[in-house]
Amino acid sequence: MSIYSEKISLKYNDKSILEDINIEIKKGMILSILGPNGAGKSSLLNILSGDIESNIGNVFYDNTDIKNISIQERAFIRSVMSQNQPIVFDFSVRDIVEMGWLDKGNIKYSNNINNAIIGVLNDCEIAHLEKRKFNTLSGGEQRRVHFARSLIQLWRESGNKDSRYLMLDEPTSNLDLSHQIKLMNMLKKLANNGVGILLILHDLNLAFNFSDYIAIIKNGKLFAYDKPLNIINKNILEDVFELTFNVDIIDNKINVNYI
């Protein structure tokens, strides 16, 4: 069970954005995408989520071509948190989180909405903000509200075995250090419960310590795609980021420093 791409390429005005990418988000695993700005990371996420179509190649959700899955059905399989746009009207935090509740076709879960939302608000430590206007929150708080919304979208009763995937574009941006770690720990827990997770990250230490797989993209090409320790051992970070790195590994904890 997985979301995977088969040789996808994307062009925009004859400029190649992505070339020949094969990648797989496995159930219960965290895959982090790293790479310089403009490498094509967000475009890849948008293709995998079905927001845009690639020029060549296909995306499969549990072996079904995404073209054969309706927009509505996709919403039950994966949720997406992109780099957010401003919201012009004064919705409350609760309103925004509730938008993740897919009530169409989800009637059997409808009675649980209140418990589910309160549970997620508590998990994301935003329960005290529930009645606040979204626009009055700080950037980091807004990020956590959107994260809560993407969790609500995938909410299921315990014991449910549906395939679920979470795709997050820089989920830790604007978060303070303690919330970054809390978020990564929550993702780890979700993965242990069988959710497949795709992350775009810039923090190498978070990526290498919390991910099961790392994909590095540079100039639209898949530069490396392996387990974190293998990538460290191949010593390729310097080629990608054009910086000098100092890597320590103590008890399987990876510590990357730039010099």
Binding site: N46, S49, G50, D51, I71, Q72, E73, R74, A75, F76, R78, S79, V80, S82, N84, Q85, I87, V88, F89, D90, F91, D95, I96, M99, G100, L102, D103, K104, S110, I113, N135, R149, Q153
Partner: protein, 345 residues
């Protein structure tokens, strides 16, 4: 959440405060309608009319002049307010107003073309009363579609960009209307001039019915997607990832805004600021979700326009003020206030 459906509207998204507010809006509207029915330049008692103690002339004035006029004010007020709320939601822009961004001007151009070229060609058809509103709807639809293409190409440009495009479209439309004025005959020019001045006078049932028909269809076309319009506020990609067919949603909202603006412009010319002021008032009172905002705007827009028309026809009796003057007098300071508020945020 229980499914509460009334006339295709899903009311389960209304909070208690919102339900109460809508109930109050409705009561206010009924009260204002009673006042409007019983006041006018021709004075007689509403009570005696109900008792049947009025003369034939009084009854004719009441049923053939006053009632159509008040209903027209209701329709124009609610459709401008609905279209304002729709456009603000669709473009995620609090300053979107059919007048400011050129949608009304597009409708006016469509209607002018029919007034100048259409009268001779089409007057023999049975459905000729539909012609003017439909031409106006097409005009406003073209403008919304154009705005949509122009703002999409530039991404989400912040609130001012669309107003600039609106200024340009308004200018283009007035060139078109100017040319039509120039080539029209004397009698066509008379029709055009009276119509562009924007008045509720001279309305008759045969002119009113097509508009009622168009606006009701538009409203029921919109009502199933009000929740989707809320979710669109997160952004287009986000809405799509939440399972919403954004393309279909946009076409529905564009159709509704075009139809409501077109129908009201065809009947009463261009009346400014109602579409801007009313949805914001409604939001300030009890919240921003569209199930509430759209119904609230329809009710409050009707009330406001009936009051404006009542003022227009009674303030300087027996003469009459243009109703657009009154709505602009209320609306333009509000517009300034809104700009300052957005600028501060």
């Amino acid at each position: 959440m229980n499914e509460k459906n009334i006339l295709g509207l899903n009311l389960s998204f209304l909070s208690g405060k919102q339900t109460l507010s809508l109930f109050i809006f409705l009561s206010v509207l009924i009260l204002i309608l009673i006042i409007a029915f019983s006041n006018g330049s021709f004075d007689f008692s509403f009570i005696s009319l109900l008792k049947g103690e009025t003369t034939h002339i009084e009854r004719t004035i009441f049923f053939e002049i006053r009632i159509p006029r008040v209903i027209l004010a209701c329709l124009v007020g609610s459709s401008l307010a609905i279209s304002g709320a729709c456009l603000q939601g669709l473009f995620r822009n609090p300053l979107a107003d059919p007048g400011l961004i050129g949608v009304s001007a597009g409708a006016a151009l469509g209607a002018s073309i029919i007034i100048v070229f259409g009268s001779t060609i089409f007057s023999k058809f049975v459905l000729s009363t539909f012609l003017l509103p439909i031409a106006a709807c097409i005009g406003s639809g073209v403008v919304i579609f154009l705005l949509f293409l122009l703002t999409k190409g530039f991404g989400h440009q912040g609130v001012t960009y669309m107003l600039l495009v609106g200024i340009a479209i308004n200018a283009i439309a007035s060139v078109g209307i100017g040319i039509l004025t120039f080539i029209s005959t004397d009698s066509e020019l008379r029709g055009l001039t009276f119509w562009t001045m924007g008045s509720f006078g001279g309305i008759t049932w045969p002119l009113l019915l097509p508009a009622i028909f168009i606006i009701i269809i538009a409203f029921f076309f919109l009502s199933p997607v009000l929740r989707d319009l809320d979710i669109l506020q997160l952004g287009e990609s986000e809405a799509k990832s939440l399972g919403i067919d954004v393309q279909k949603l946009k076409y529905r909202v564009i159709f509704t805004s075009a139809a409501t603006v077109g129908a009201s412009v065809a009947l009463s010319g261009m009346i400014g600021f109602v579409g801007l002021v009313v949805p914001h008032l409604v939001r300030l009172i009890a919240g921003v979700n569209h199930s509430y905002v759209i119904i609230g705007s329809a009710l409050l827009g009707s009330s406001l326009m009936v009051i404006a028309d009542l003022l227009a026809r009674t303030l300087i009796q027996p003469a009459e003020l243009p109703v657009g003057l009154i709505t602009s007098a209320i609306g333009s300071p509000f517009f300034l206030w809104l700009i300052f508020r957005i600028n501060k945020a």
